[in-house]
Amino acid sequence: MLNLDDVLSVAPDVLSRQSGEEVVVVLLGKGRFFVLNRTGAAVFRMMDGQMTLREIAAALNQEYRVPPERAEQDVLALARKLLERGAIIKKEA
């Protein structure tokens, strides 16, 4: 289960490419891809193995003026989806 103090990073067999405002994420091991919109792309870029999800939500709030509570909910929801798809991995404490 993820929480806002978790730190995530991109999985090793994942490659991404910026295309306009979107990001295409390719899961090499699974032969699948998905596309993230502008804010999804920003969140994905911040999953660098350093920032907690709370810090990412705060940055989203600053950069895109998303209300703090909504930002936290959105970041958590996206992180869960990406984790489920195998695009990111959780950094163990």
Binding site: L15, G20, E22, V23, V26, G31, F33
Partner: protein, 266 residues
């Protein structure tokens, strides 16, 4: 002793020599006769190996593994290796291996060879209409074969795999022998890339740049699984996309979609 044979497969000016026992090479030389070529760029050795177990699964299901510049394709009864830097590939297979599996290996080698030559093997059907090529892409089940069967009277380039290669005046779509339609060896200027979607109406729909790029990469077999080549694959598709429109084609089981295409592209 079975005599060995060499035969050169040439798709879109990209030649590949098949070398091995006659019982494996000859059927391809016959079935793909129109794609016979001359001086090969790459060599593909086919070696029967009775020491391998009889194949229990199709090579088609095997995913290529990329490591240290080599590509390995392994399945029970098969041991394939491709070394792009040397333009060399070899498939050792149990002597009872089927031609479909050998063809699968040849397709895999060709996908890499084509990419190294600046081209792309594209999982798409191709139809010539008004003297230009229309590439219809999508996963299995998206309607490629249906669309081809609805395009009566038009020249079909392929119902499954096209070769896209830069020509003097832009990107061209070439026939490949990797499909049920094996007509003449032809090519035509690429006019549009259309993502197929079966629907109760005929309509063209915009695709976002990211979705279009993702779908095009997803339909670039073999190369899209290689972490080293993937950035170049993205770049190549972006180059094509800058010149050739990409959109989704929603279509019914009639040929009315050609009217929609004509209305949009003239």
């Amino acid at each position: 002793m079975e005599r060995a044979l060499g035969w050169t497969l040439d798709i879109g000016g990209i030649p590949l020599a098949l070398e091995g026992p006659a019982f494996w090479v000859e059927p391809f030389a016959r079935a793909w006769e129109r794609w016979g070529g001359a001086t090969p760029v790459w060599r593909v050795g086919l070696e029967p190996d009775a020491g391998l177990p009889p194949s229990s699964a199709s090579l088609f299901a095997a995913r290529p593994r990329f490591a240290d510049g080599h590509v390995l394709l392994r399945a029970p009864g098969f041991a394939g290796e491709i070394v792009p830097q040397k333009g060399w590939a070899c498939l050792r297979a149990h002597p009872g291996a089927g031609l479909e599996d050998i063809a699968c290996f040849v397709r895999t080698v060709f996908a890499l060879c084509a990419f190294e030559q600046g081209a792309i093997l594209f999982h798409a059907a191709g139809v010539v209409h008004r003297e230009v090529a229309w590439a219809f892409f999508g996963n299995s089940g998206s309607g490629k074969t249906t669309l081809v069967s609805l395009s009566r009277g038009k020249v079909v380039l392929s119902d499954d795999l096209l070769l896209l290669r830069r020509g003097q005046d832009g990107w061209m779509a070439w026939t490949t022998p990797f499909s049920r339609y094996r007509g003449d060896r032809l090519f035509a200027p690429l006019r549009a890339l259309l993502r197929l979607m079966k629907a109760p109406e005929d309509r063209l729909e915009r695709m976002s740049p990211g979705t279009a790029l993702g779908e095009l990469v997803a339909n670039s077999p073999v190369v899209n699984a290689d972490p080293v080549r993937l950035p170049a694959l993205f770049a190549r598709w972006e180059e094509i996309r800058a010149r050739v429109p990409v959109c989704a084609l929603l279509f019914r089981k009639t040929d009315a979609f050609w009217g929609v295409i004509d209305a949009k592209f003239g």
